[in-house]
Amino acid sequence: MPKIKLPTKSPHIDMTPMVDLFSVVLTFLMLTTTMRQQEPAPVDTPYSISEKPTPDFNTLTLLLSKDDKVFINFDNGPDTLLKFRPKILAEMGKRYNIEFTDAELREFEKYPSSMGVPILQMKEFLDAKEAKAKAVFQTGIPCDSLDNQLALWVLFARQVNPNIQACIKGDSKTGFPIVQKVLDIMQDKNVNKFNLITSLEGAKINLEEIQK
């Protein structure tokens, strides 16, 4: 029996629809993306049922890491038009007799994530070019009673921007003493309203079971 020989054809796949789809997805992702900021310390926020979104501006965020370091962030990076950040740093510099140059103020304004730099090292921190060199200075903001720089940051932030809201972002495993200390410092500066940053989770309540 003669074998039927099928003519071998090159397997052409028309990739046009696939490319179309990919372009759409890519465009969508590129337009909607907000880059996840790399924080100086890894933080797993606790869960809550609250559905209120984090405010985008007028925020003073305190990051409390697992190893009891405090980091501070104003307005989440450069997306502010009123340029509160350089003003706050300038005030802080005046207090500690440090003159910050324009370039340093601009660097402070642009810095995208939280900062935990003692004010005396702030100049070197801002002058450092590479991220690794910068990371060395992130030792947490001093907040003990001898040198309470955190209180001053809070004070000047509120002077420069009276509408600023305090947010606290802590790891679930952060020990309570440091949280208590930070709350005390804030309350000394008359901040009594806090926004605790959490991730969303659902809660189920079984009413019948409770009434048994």
Binding site: V19, L26, R36, S50, K52, G175, I205
Partner: protein
């Protein structure tokens, strides 16, 4: 790869073959795949949420202002203990009881029978039912109002409530931040109208240490 170009076999005469201009899109697709993956991994789709808390103002001059009086029968003291445990006792401890401190009950953060949620809901049943009924009316469409007024109405329900517990939250020093957020979350879940966070007293530290079997710390015993 996706395209194998076959050579034309045959006679010596080669005809200029007409064929559609094929563009090899494989590298483009590769690149797009890469970009899509990158963007998908770096995008933060869900924004972080915030939970509000108002702390009572600090009394800076104790002679001018005295602590608000609250009825002991409605007071619940929740102490956040070590190892994700909560210890609670009702009412308050009077100075003459310092030598024989009242016992505390141990709870955890689960929604089960041993959890704090069950205990709070039992005590806050009247208010919780009201809020729940109100929410049901809104969900089922019997009541058509804006989200803002829903929140306001619930706040009003909480304000006029006079049966629910008054919860005082205190934290033992070995508690963690997650416990703090969890307990505030439970307050929201159970619709507790009146709760606040207050500093822990020395005898409460002692009570937790007794219940959890921790050696008393020197700061607690010197007072």
């Amino acid at each position: 790869m996706a395209e194998i170009i076959q050579e034309e076999k045959g006679g010596g005469k080669k005809k200029a073959k007409k064929h559609a201009p094929h563009i090899d899109m494989t590298p483009m697709v590769d690149l797009m795949c890469l970009l899509i993956t990158f963007f998908m991994l770096t995008t933060a789709f869900s924004k972080a949420k915030v939970m509000e808390i108002n702390l009572p103002e600090k009394i800076k001059d104790p002679t001018k202002q005295e602590a608000p009086r609250i009825s002991a029968s409605r007071t619940l003291n929740l102490i956040l203990g070590p190892n994700d445990k909560i210890y609670w006792y009702p009412g308050s401890v009077k100075p003459e009881e310092y030598n024989s401190l009242p016992p505390v009950t141990e709870l955890d953060y689960s929604a089960e029978a041993t959890g704090v949620r069950r205990m709070l809901l039992e005590r806050n049943r009247a208010l919780f039912k009201k809020i729940d009924e109100f929410n049901q009316q809104v969900i089922s469409g019997k009541l058509v109002i804006s989200q803002d007024s829903v929140l306001k109405s619930i706040a009003q329900l909480k304000k006029i409530d006079d049966t629910g517990p008054i919860v005082l939250i205190k934290a033992y020093k070995k508690a963690n931040y997650g416990n703090f957020v969890d307990i505030l979350d439970e307050m929201n879940i159970c619709g507790i109208a009146r709760y606040t966070f207050v500093p822990i007293a020395w005898y409460e530290e002692r009570m937790v240490e007794n219940a959890a079997g921790i050696a008393p710390t020197p700061t607690a015993s010197t007072k």
